[in-house]
Symmetry: C2
Subunit: 318 residues, 2 copies
C-alpha cells in the first residue's frame, strides 16, 4: 500500500493558496518526500501528515522553488526529536547546497546521509526495506535535473503444495516467504523453491522541470500514477516552454500515453496559470485519465486484489 | 503616513494558517520589511501587497523562522524585474548568512547592500529620504538580536508671517520648507528662520525574540505602535520563557506600559499557542490597548491632525 500526497502544485513562485511542488509517499511506516519548496512544512501540517516518518528526501534539482522549504522542514523534524538518520538524494552538489542552507538550520539531532546522483539512471534501495526502490533518471532541464519512480515490488505467491512436496518443515515456510535462505543441517532451502513468479507491484513516477524526453517515457512505463509538470496550459506558450525547458499540459499527456500509465496528475503550474482545470480537457483528449491536480490531492494505491480486477484507487481527496 | 502590516504572527514554526513573523512598513512609496520567515512572499500575496517597493530588509537575527523566506522573496523581486539596490540590515554575520542562502537564489538583477550592526544601538537613514529613520537596538536573546523602530520625523510649521517680515521672496518659501539653505546674492536664508519647532512624527517599534530589557523600553518610548513578541500566554510558561529567552504576553504588556506606547500588538506566538486571544485579557489588565494580532493585521498611521486630537488610526484590518 502506498499513500501519495501532492503537497503543492506551484511552480516557480507560490500563490497565497498554492504551495510549491512537493510530493510525499508513505509506505510501510516510512515516507519519501520529493522536493521541498517554501511552505512544504505548512502544506504537510495543513494536510495533517506528520514529517516524522520521512526517511528519504529526493530533490529533482536545486532551483529555489524545489528546496527553499528544506531548512524549516529540517528544524521541524528536529523539534519532533528525530534521531534516525535522514537520507537525501539529488544531483551533484547536493551536500554543498544543503550545507549552505543549513547556515540557518545548524545543530540537528539527526545525521544526514547524502547520496549524490552521477549516472543517467540509478536505483536506490529504501533504507531498511527489501521491497521498496527509488529509481532516479535524468531528464532535460536547463540544469541537471532528475525524475524519480517509487516502486513497491511484490513477491510471488507462496506455493504450499511445492513446499510440502519438497518436505520443507513448516517452521521454515515463513522465513522462506520473506526471502531468507535456510540451511538445516546438510540441506539448503531457497525462496525460489517455493515462491511463484514476482507479481505486479506498484509504481509512482514524478517528473518536474523538464522538456518531454525518452528517459521519462522509459522510466514512467506502466506506472500506476504519473505525476508530471504542466507548466503551461495554453498551446501558444510552446516557445516559452521550449526556452525555459518546461512542458505544456498536452506534452505531459503525450508522455503519459506513450508510457502507458494508469493516471496522470498535472502539477508545477506557472504562477500565471490561475485555473489549471480550464486547460485539462485539451490534455484529456490526448490522455483521458488526466487530472489537473490541486494542492493536497491524495490517493492510496493498493496491490491488485486477489481475484479482483485492477488497482483499487481509494480515498482520492483534493 | 505609514502603512503597517503584520504579515505573519508565528514563532518558531508556521502553522497551516499562520505565517512566520514578518512586518512590512510602507512609507513615501518605499517599504521596509522586518524579518522574512518561510512563507513571507505568500503572506504578501495573500495581503495583496507588492514586494516591489521593499528597499530595506531588516533582520532581528538569523534563526530560520526569521529569514527562511528570504531566497524565495529575492527571486520574486528579481522576477518582478527590480534593478534598484536593496539594503539589508542585521547583526554581524549578515553578508555570510545571506550569501549562503543565495546558493538557491543566485543571479539577481539587483545589488544587495549590507549594513551589519555593531553597536548596541544605531540609526540608519532610509535611502533617498530625509524624514525616515530606522533605529536598531540590541535586545536580549540567546544569540545577538536587534529590535527596530521606524521613525517618520515631521518638520515644524512654516511661518509665513516670519518669512514676510524677513522679506524672503515667495519663490524661496517652498525650498526653505523642504529644508534647503538658499543663497540669494549676499543674503542667505536658512530653514530655521521660517520653520517652527519639529512636530510630533510617527514611530513604530518591532521586537521579537527577547526577554524584557531596558533597551526595549527606551527604544519603544512614545511609539504609536509597539509590535512585540508574546511567545507564551500562560503564566506557567515563565520558566520556558526565561530559558529560551522569550516573553509572556504579560511581560510584553509591562514593556508597553513602561514605554508609554499608544498600542501594543502581540506577535511571534509559540506553535503550541493556538488561540492567542484567550490570553489577551490578562495582558490588557496590565496594558489596556493590547491586541493579540492575527496574520495580516494592518493599520495606517497618520500625523496628528491640525486642530484634531490624537492620531487617526484608520483602516485597521485583520
Amino acid at each position: 500500500m502506498l499513500d501519495i500526497c501532492l503537497l503543492g502544485t506551484g511552480g516557480m513562485m507560490p500563490l497565497p493558496y498554492r504551495y510549491l511542488t512537493s510530493m510525499m509517499a508513505r509506505v510501510n511506516g516510512s515516507a519519501i518526500l520529493i522536493d521541498a519548496g517554501e511552505g512544504t512544512q505548512m502544506a504537510l501540517r495543513r494536510k495533517g501528515w506528520s514529517p516524522n516518518p520521512i526517511d528519504v528526501i529526493c530533490f529533482t534539482h536545486y532551483h529555489a522553488d524545489h528546496i527553499s522549504g528544506l531548512p524549516g522542514l529540517l528544524l521541524s523534524m528536529g523539534n519532533a526529536e528525530r534521531t534516525a538518520p535522514l537520507m537525501m538524494v539529488g544531483p551533484r552538489g547536493l551536500e554543498r547546497v544543503v550545507n549552505s542552507l543549513r547556515v540557518i538550520a545548524p545543530g540537528l539531532p539527526f545525521d544526514i546521509v547524502f547520496r549524490e546522483l552521477e549516472e543517467s539512471s540509478e536505483t536506490i534501495a529504501m533504507p531498511g526495506m527489501r521491497d521498496v526502490f527509488i529509481d532516479a533518471f535524468r531528464v532535460n532541464h536547463n540544469v541537471t535535473c532528475y525524475g524519480y519512480s517509487i516502486r513497491l515490488v511484490r513477491a510471488g505467491r507462496f506455493d504450499a503444495d511445492a513446499a510440502r512436496a519438497l518436505g520443507i518443515p513448516v517452521r521454515f515456510w515463513n522465513p522462506l516467504q520473506k526471502g531468507s535462505v535456510i540451511t538445516d543441517g546438510d540441506v539448503t532451502y531457497e525462496p525460489s523453491m517455493v515462491m511463484g513468479p514476482e507479481r505486479r507491484g506498484l509504481k509512482v513516477t514524478y517528473v518536474t522541470d523538464s522538456r518531454p524526453c525518452a528517459s521519462i517515457v522509459e522510466a514512467a512505463e506502466g506506472s500506476d500514477l504519473f505525476i508530471c509538470e504542466g507548466m503551461y496550459g495554453e498551446e501558444d506558450k510552446i516557445a516559452d516552454a521550449r526556452q525555459k525547458k518546461h512542458m505544456l499540459f498536452r506534452e505531459a499527456a503525450e508522455l503519459a500515453d506513450k508510457a502507458g500509465v494508469k493516471e496522470l496528475w498535472l502539477t508545477h503550474y506557472s504562477p500565471s496559470l490561475l485555473h489549471p482545470e480550464d486547460f485539462a480537457d485539451a490534455a484529456r483528449r490526448v490522455f483521458p485519465a488526466t487530472v489537473a491536480a490541486k494542492d493536497g490531492r491524495t490517493v492510496t494505491l493498493r496491490f491488485d486484489g486477489d481475484g479482483e480486477s485492477g488497482e483499487q484507487l481509494t480515498h482520492v481527496q483534493e
